[in-house]
């Protein structure tokens, strides 16, 4: 077998913009995939999260019980967990609901018709929170979204066993 | 009250030591004509237990029996053992009656002939009374706080008139410096040094401010002193005014102390009437006026720069120092700010000399200090001891120890910026330096005793909550840091905290202590730091075992975690 590292990406409460940014690496993706195998992602057809993953990129905030279950599972099976983008790092736009109660929000969006959460979608947590509020995060990549260049640097460094230094190239927002 | 003859000629003005002597003699004569004097404490604690009714019924009882000529019933001051209010003293003899009800009037008056009412009698040979040294609370309770003549009869205003008529301002400051008196507001800055800084400052206008914005939880020394000795506070301020070249003084007192406000306002009017405040005091060029400014209860207004801002009509926000008020204070002028108790010590220092004062206390902490003893201690109330007295003596001898067979755990001194001192340090002498080395603070004199029924994490949370509520919001570390620290303490007491939270709490303590703008923020972490220093095991019990050893956060042996919330 190859000595390729395993790479996964997951998508919690976010807009998928960070995944788009991953795709924006264009042909550099091919070079990266020489060193790493994408074993789980919304971008590939794989139903269950593998038992051991070297690097997982997390997009999105933890907003629902489903998100929470997922991130705990992913954390337990991942060596290096990366919070990718502002939603994962700060809870960003999903957190804008936090000053209000879940009940108020549901009433507002459904115009009073559905004061309770419907049972066929995951229950909302009281607050949408950043990933590191629930599990240990190894690398933080702020940005909305982080640029393809930033993601490229993160992956190249991590695959080479280095901790990336992002302070001068990315920040909250843009 | 009749006014001495020759004072009338001067419109009641008292202008020299002879005038004082005349009044004192007059008072002594009056006293000699009386067989008995009955003092009913009219302090806040006693009044809240209907001492005004007791005063009324005693007065009525005396007049019913036609004894007004030989028995005087008069309002008096605090006896110290406020927990036993209402208190009544009968002179001569000094019998102290506690828990006196209006219905007891007849028995008390009977006792003047038949001997003490045993069921009401307080044992004044107990250490609570014998082990104290009364300097600030001189003639405790036996002076009617609203009569200037009562004050003059016990040596009042000798200090001011001596200073103004016989001493130069420099000589006054010299005496204060020699006395070794240090600021009683808590920080212990040498008073003489502060005075000479203001005296040296060159300005057309200078101000003298009395900080009576007492706000520490459990502290009521300043309130009691203002209620009992308003004239002495004013005398101290006037002496300061003379020494520094200031003509205007302000008493900044919280509006929650209505009785203290009333007394100080009455005293200002009384002193003015007798020429002891106002223009040309003692017929000299020296004029000094005092006005009262009410605080709206913000704790931070006890911080001197915030207090000044409040007097100026601004928000009570602290400013970075330097410049210190001594250089640029009220309206930009050199300003002296001292605590109530500091001013109270001034008149005796001038009257008896700085060296006399310096004989009391320790090498670096001179004089006495009043403490508001409260919490889990048998004798709660106001006590006064020489600095250098051990905590053990105050709590166990004077305070009578912890009641109901409980075990002493800690004593909290210094208010929200102070710390909790455990049993192993009970023999530490109380002075500015030793309290600081124990991780606490002298503060203005609050002393809260805690026993094994107190959870130290809960205590830290209480003080942090106080600081978070009282933070003014100007600087970020205090505004936000106190809230985060409170939240973590809350998590600890509900068993939701981890060791990482504890580490973050310690990091926040360090940061808030060293980066906050004023003493409120800088001191806010102290209750946490001191309880972590002495009672870390209690923190660990909450975090690791989810148990509260004292049984406060949950019953003893019960899990402190709240049951999971069912949606």
């Amino acid at each position: 077998m190859s000595t390729k590292k395993s790479l996964a990406t997951i998508w919690l409460d976010g807009c998928s913009g960070c995944h788009m940014s991953v795709l924006d690496m264009d042909e550099r993706l091919l070079a990266l995939l020489e060193q790493a195998e994408l074993v789980y992602s919304p971008l590939v057809d794989q139903k269950t999260f593998p038992d051991h993953v070297d690097i997982t990129l997390v997009e999105g905030a933890v907003s629902t019980e489903e998100d929470l279950k997922k991130i705990k599972l992913v954390r337990s099976k991942t060596h290096t967990l990366v919070s990718l983008g502002d939603c994962a790092v700060t809870a960003n736009v999903p957190s804008m609901r936090n000053p209000l109660s879940v009940k108020d929000i549901l009433e507002r969006v459904s115009d009073g018709a559905a004061p309770r959460q419907p049972s066929n979608v995951p229950l909302l947590l009281g607050n949408a929170r950043p990933v590191h509020n629930f599990v240990k995060v190894d690398v933080f990549v702020p940005g909305c979204p982080p640029s393809a260049d930033v993601i490229h640097l993160v992956l190249t460094d991590l695959l080479a066993g280095r901790q990336p230094d992002l302070t001068s190239i990315t920040r909250f927002g843009k | 009250m009749q006014t001495p003859q020759h004072l009338d000629a001067k419109n009641g003005r008292i202008v020299n030591l002879d005038d004082l002597k005349t009044i004192a003699e007059q008072e002594a004569l009056l006293k000699s004509q009386l067989k008995h004097r009955i003092f009913v404490c009219m302090g806040t604690a006693c009044q809240s237990c209907q001492s005004a009714d007791v005063l009324d019924s005693l007065t009525r009882e005396v007049s019913t029996r036609g004894g007004q000529a030989e028995c005087l019933v008069t309002p008096g001051g605090c006896q110290g053992n406020c927990a036993e209010a209402p208190l009544v003293v009968v002179e001569p003899g000094g019998q102290l009656y506690r828990g006196v009800a209006p219905g007891d009037a007849a028995s008390v008056i009977d006792s003047l002939k038949t001997g003490p009412v045993k069921r009401l009698l307080c044992d004044t040979t107990a250490p609570f009374f014998t082990e104290q040294t009364r300097l600030v609370t001189e003639y405790r309770g036996l002076v009617n706080p609203e009569r200037i003549e009562d004050y003059i009869a016990v040596g009042g205003y000798i200090g001011l008139l001596t200073a103004v008529t016989e001493l130069t301002p420099d000589e006054v400051i010299q005496q204060v410096t020699r006395s070794g008196l240090r600021g009683r507001g808590g920080a212990g800055y040498p008073t003489g040094l502060k005075w000479s800084t203001v005296a040296k400052a060159v300005s057309e206008q200078k101000y003298v401010i009395c900080n009576a914005d007492e706000g520490d939880p459990g502290a009521f020394m300043n309130r009691s002193v203002l209620e009992d000795y308003p004239f002495r506070v004013l005398e101290g301020m006037a002496i300061a005014g003379y020494a520094l070249g200031a003509t205007q003084g302000y008493v900044y007192v919280r509006a929650e102390y209505p009785l203290a406000v009333k007394r100080i306002e009455k005293a200002i009017a009384g002193a003015q009437r007798h020429g002891l405040l106002g223009n040309n005091i003692a017929n000299t060029q020296f004029s000094f006026h005092v006005e009262v400014r009410l605080g709206a209860g913000a704790f931070v207004c006890g911080e001197e720069t915030a207090l000044i801002s409040s007097i100026e009509g601004g928000r009570g926000l602290p400013c970075p120092r330097p410049p210190y008020p001594a250089e640029s204070g009220l309206w930009g002028h050199p300003t002296l700010i001292n605590n109530v108790e500091t001013y109270t010590n001034i008149a005796p220092i001038i009257r008896n000399g700085g060296d006399w004062f310096a004989k009391i206390g320790t090498e670096k902490s001179k004089g006495t200090k009043t403490f508001a003893l409260s919490g889990r201690v048998k004798n709660t109330g106001l006590v006064e001891v020489p600095l250098g007295t051990t905590l053990r003596k105050i709590i166990f001898d004077i305070g009578g120890g912890v009641p109901e067979g409980h075990k002493f755990k800690a004593v909290q001194t210094g208010g929200p910026a102070g710390g909790c001192i455990p049993a192993e340090h009970l023999d530490a002498p109380i002075d500015y330096e030793s309290l600081q080395s124990l991780g606490s603070f002298m503060g203005s004199g609050g002393m809260i005793v805690m026993d094994d029924t107190s959870c130290m994490v809960d205590v830290a949370k209480f003080f942090m909550d106080f600081c978070a509520t009282e933070s003014c919001g100007k600087c970020i570390p205090c505004r936000v840091g106190t809230v985060h620290m409170r939240d973590i303490l809350n998590k600890i007491t509900t068993g939701e905290a981890s060791l990482e939270d504890l580490a973050q709490l310690e990091e926040l303590c360090d940061m808030v202590k060293y980066t906050s703008l004023c003493g409120l923020g800088q001191g806010a972490p102290n209750p946490v730091l001191s309880t972590l220093r002495y009672f870390k095991d209690e923190y660990m019990a909450h975090i690791i075992d989810h148990l509260c050893p004292a049984g406060v956060c949950a019953g003893k042996g019960q899990d402190i975690r709240r049951p999971a919330c069912v949606l």
Partner: protein, 235 residues
């Protein structure tokens, strides 16, 4: 006034004794982070970002309000100061609702800049998520308190430069917040001259011009120094 010599970070410099450490440092291109300070306004000393070490003083001192003196030895960087500065920035992010990505000042924000320059890539303190209501009652400007850091630059510029004193702070501690007039909607303020100075000095997107979208609000506060100079010349 006289000239004194001092050292900042080992560099030997001179300055006037009526100048602050911050002024002297900036004149020599030594960067000290600030947030509440702004040239042309009175000093405030509230943000505590500019705390520095001064030899012989066991307390940290704010560079903005501490004047230089002969022989002063200043250290503006240390591991400890860096830690404190990061915590201050983190505290600001945690107490408000700062959503950089959708903010009018995204890319032109002093808080965002400060976070980056202090190397902050996430906020370790828990967010407090306060409920704060936007005031959009003014014709030309909007106040979004979610983004306010209480630096009080708006309060000071309105009082000291414009002379209107429309803005002030109400409440205490974590509940402290800006108000216009006696806590009336900004649009109904009788003292506001709509000069917009508050908007231009605001370091974040808390005050902005209506019609500006995310990232479109660029603040210009250079006018302050100019005004100060002109007023000094006239007086």
């Amino acid at each position: 006034m006289r000239v004194v010599t001092l050292s900042i970070n080992g560099q030997h410099l001179s300055g006037r004794n009526d100048e602050s450490v911050l002024q002297v440092a900036r004149a020599h291109n030594i960067d000290i982070p600030t947030l509440c300070q702004l040239d042309g306004l009175s000093t405030w000393g509230g943000c505590r970002l500019c705390l520095v070490h001064v030899e012989g003083n066991n307390k940290l001192v704010p560079a903005c309000v501490t004047n230089v003196f002969e022989g002063m030895v200043v250290q503006t960087e240390s591991e400890r100061l860096a830690r404190y500065r990061r915590m201050i920035i983190e505290m600001l992010f945690s107490e408000g609702n700062h959503i950089c990505s959708v903010c009018v000042s995204n890319g032109n924000c002093e808080l965002q800049d400060a976070a980056q320059s202090q190397g902050i890539d996430h906020i370790s303190l828990p967010y407090l998520y306060p409920e704060r209501t936007v005031d959009a009652s003014h014709d030309r400007f909007t106040f979004d308190p979610n983004r306010c850091v209480l630096c009080t630059r708006c309060v000071r510029v309105c009082d000291e430069v414009e002379g209107a004193h429309t803005w002030d702070v109400a409440g205490r501690g974590i509940k402290a917040h800006l108000i216009t007039d006696l806590n009336q909607p900004w649009g109904e303020s009788s003292s506001c001259t709509s000069c917009g100075k508050c908007v231009q000095v605001c370091p974040t997107g808390a005050l902005f011009e209506k019609g500006k979208g995310a990232g479109e609000m660029v603040k210009k506060n250079e006018f302050l120094v100019y005004l100060e100079e002109m007023r000094q010349k006239r007086s």
